[in-house]
């Protein structure tokens, strides 16, 4: 398969009052059409920064991102993002949230009836047809995330970028959403980059797991090919020795080779670490906010 997305030797530095902070150094990754890639690593290792550079929300200090032969210089709907906290507009219904995206992307090419059909099709894909005229505050966290995914899918992106899409959900809902995502990916053959904290999620969903070292100057530590045939079923895989081997490899990487010596409690609940801003360290985020 040919390379669709080339993340080419990117460095990312953030200016701080104490001088530049190097969040990423020489991150280099090539992703093929239809591939599902997970980025995994500890909080603050720069996973989200990689995603934001691919999304075009950050500009890499050195290196660049090339999508189907064109360099990425700004955000755009061909690189749709599913944000961690759904980011639906709270004043619009599920339908209207998807509609905003569809109108913007297909407003010139599709008729009103076609757009309507396309919006409904995408909401159907994430099993949200029954609640499409409800507003975000009237539906559960899992449902909001479904609508967020429908909105991203409706843009027909070349790459779907997911920033810990299920991190804020409870374990049962998360499992359900993972199954849904696998179904959708099997149907549409999307190219996906997903950030996750969850080792099981990474092994279950991915073709490749990209394990990142800890920041500052984080980079790719190891890449694990997950050679499990699809469709994958979590219950069957639970007893599969290969699955457990993959799992162990990722765990080993995270806990032995690159656990932070100064933060020995890293093996605590993922829910807690989810709350930490996952890009570039908390102090960086603060200075960025203050400057804004």
């Amino acid at each position: 398969m040919s390379v669709l997305l080339d993340i080419s030797h990117i460095d990312m530095e953030f200016p701080t009052p104490k001088g530049p902070f190097t969040a990423l150094r020489d991150v280099d990754l090539k992703i093929s059409q239809g591939e599902f890639v997970s980025l995994i690593g500890h909080s603050g290792c720069g996973k989200s920064t990689v995603l934001n550079v691919v999304a075009g929300l950050y500009q890499a200090t050195r290196g660049g991102v090339i999508l189907s032969g064109k360099e990425v210089t700004e955000p755009g709907p061909e690189r749709a993002v599913v944000f961690q906290n759904h980011s639906l507009l709270p004043w619009l219904t599920a339908y209207e949230n998807v509609e905003l995206a569809v109108k913007q992307v297909f407003g010139k090419n599709k008729s009103k009836a076609e757009m309507r059909e396309w919006i409904e099709h995408n909401l159907d894909l994430v099993h949200m047809s029954h609640a499409m005229h409800k507003r975000p505050d009237e539906i559960s966290g899992g449902m909001k995330q479904r609508v967020g995914i429908a909105r991203a899918l409706a843009m027909q992106p070349q790459v779907l970028l997911m920033d810990e899409p299920f991190g804020a959900l409870d374990a049962l809902t998360r499992a359900h959403m993972q199954d849904s995502l696998m179904e959708i990916q099997a149907e549409l053959n999307n190219t996906v980059i997903m950030i996750t904290h969850d080792v099981d999620e990474a092994v279950l969903l991915s073709d490749r797991i990209v394990m990142m070292t800890n920041g500052p100057a984080a980079t790719i530590g190891e890449i694990l090919e997950v050679d499990l045939e699809r469709p994958r079923h979590r219950l069957e895989l639970a007893d599969d020795p290969r699955y457990n081997q993959y799992r162990a490899k990722v765990l080993k990487f995270l806990h032995e080779r690159h656990s932070k010596p100064d933060v020995p409690t890293k093996k605590s609940t993922p829910a807690k670490s989810d709350a930490v801003p996952a890009h570039a360290g908390a102090d960086i985020k603060e200075t960025v906010d203050n400057a804004a």
């Binding site: 929300l57 755009g76 709907p77 906290n85 709270p90 913007q104």
Partner: protein, 329 residues
């Protein structure tokens, strides 16, 4: 008060301790306590009033004020009666003259009686709403621009901070002179005094709206802004689809603050500049110095307070109607 007590007694005799307790506590909270507060205030007021002697007699207690409310209403009725009679006479006279001389062009003169208390209230309400709406038209676009652009914020913020605390009384002479100099139409659309009040109100109630709108716009959830970027929404659509709805709750907070300021400023401006309205009513009564004056001023004070309260409730109702954020209170 009486009915609540009756209901409460009835329920306590029904031997439903739980239901009885909640009903009773609700009745207490919503009716009995506010009523008790008002009664205590009236008592305190009348006792204190009896002990204050002014050059215009005793300070008016609740009873005297109530009496003046009735008197003001009667005056209003009589004045309306006079007005009706005036127009009737005029019409009759004109009809007679036309009957005598078919070529006569009948002259219609407006009634020029003294404005009643109710007329003053209406004048004040029209003025405050006009000044407020003008301020809205300026403040919200300005606030959005400041909220979106850090550079503009840096440029304009010092000006806002300096003008925000300025009292209306300081603006008024300047506004009066400028209006007199620039507004010299021989056939004016609106009175100069109306313009003076309006502009003073606008100048004073602009700032809370500008500041709140700017803060609301600047504080939009970063993720929502990123959604807009990923969708590549053009600037105008970004404002229309993301910025405006997201900052509606803050805009309304600013509007409510501003309307409160506008109402306070208006009364002061009317008093000082002799512009028609409730403020002028208060000033006229003060100058009048009759034995009823203080009671009439007190009546005006209560009406001013009540209208201020209703304006705020009105804004809140509008916010609940318009805003997606139903948590407002």
């Amino acid at each position: 008060m009486n009915t609540t007590t009756v209901i409460a007694t009835k329920f306590s005799s029904l031997k439903l301790p739980h239901l009885d307790a909640t009903l009773f506590s609700n009745a207490m909270r919503l009716v009995a306590l506010p009523v008790a507060g008002i009664l205590a205030f009236l008592l305190l007021w009348s006792v204190t009033a009896q002990n204050i002697d002014t050059s215009l007699g005793k300070f008016p207690g609740p009873a005297a004020v109530m009496e003046q409310f009735n008197a003001l209403y009667d005056e209003h009725q009589r004045s309306r009666e006079k007005e009706r009679a005036f127009y009737e006479r005029q019409e009759k006279r004109n009809a007679e003259r036309v009957a005598k001389d078919p070529n006569y062009q009948p002259k219609i003169r407006a009634y020029t009686g003294k404005e009643t208390f109710l007329d003053q209230i209406i004048t004040s309400l029209i003025t405050v709403m006009s000044g407020f709406l003008l301020a809205v038209a300026i403040a919200i676009p300005l606030g959005i621009a400041i909220g979106l652009s850090q550079a503009l914020n840096n440029a304009i913020n010092p000006i806002i901070q300096i003008f925000k605390p300025v009292s209306p009384l300081a603006w008024l002479p300047l506004v009066t002179m400028v209006v007199s100099a620039l507004y010299t139409s021989p056939d004016p659309l609106v009175a100069k005094s109306f313009l003076n009040s309006l502009i003073t109100v606008t100048l004073c109630c602009l700032w809370p709206m500008v500041i709140n709108t700017a803060v609301g716009v600047a504080g939009i959830d970063k993720d929502l802004v990123n959604v807009s970027k990923v969708l590549r929404l053009p600037a105008l659509r970004h404002v229309q689809k993301i910025v405006l709805p997201a900052s509606v709750p803050m805009i309304f907070t600013g509007m409510r603050l501003s309307l409160g300021v506008a109402w306070m400023v208006l009364i002061a401006a009317e008093m000082l500049a002799q512009n028609p309205g409730l403020g002028k009513f208060v000033w006229d009564e003060f100058q009048n110095g009759s034995s009823d004056s203080l009671a009439r001023i007190m009546a005006a004070v209560l009406v001013i307070g009540l209208i201020g309260f209703l304006l705020d409730r009105g804004m809140l109702a509008l916010q609940k109607l318009v805003s997606w954020d139903k948590a407002a209170n």
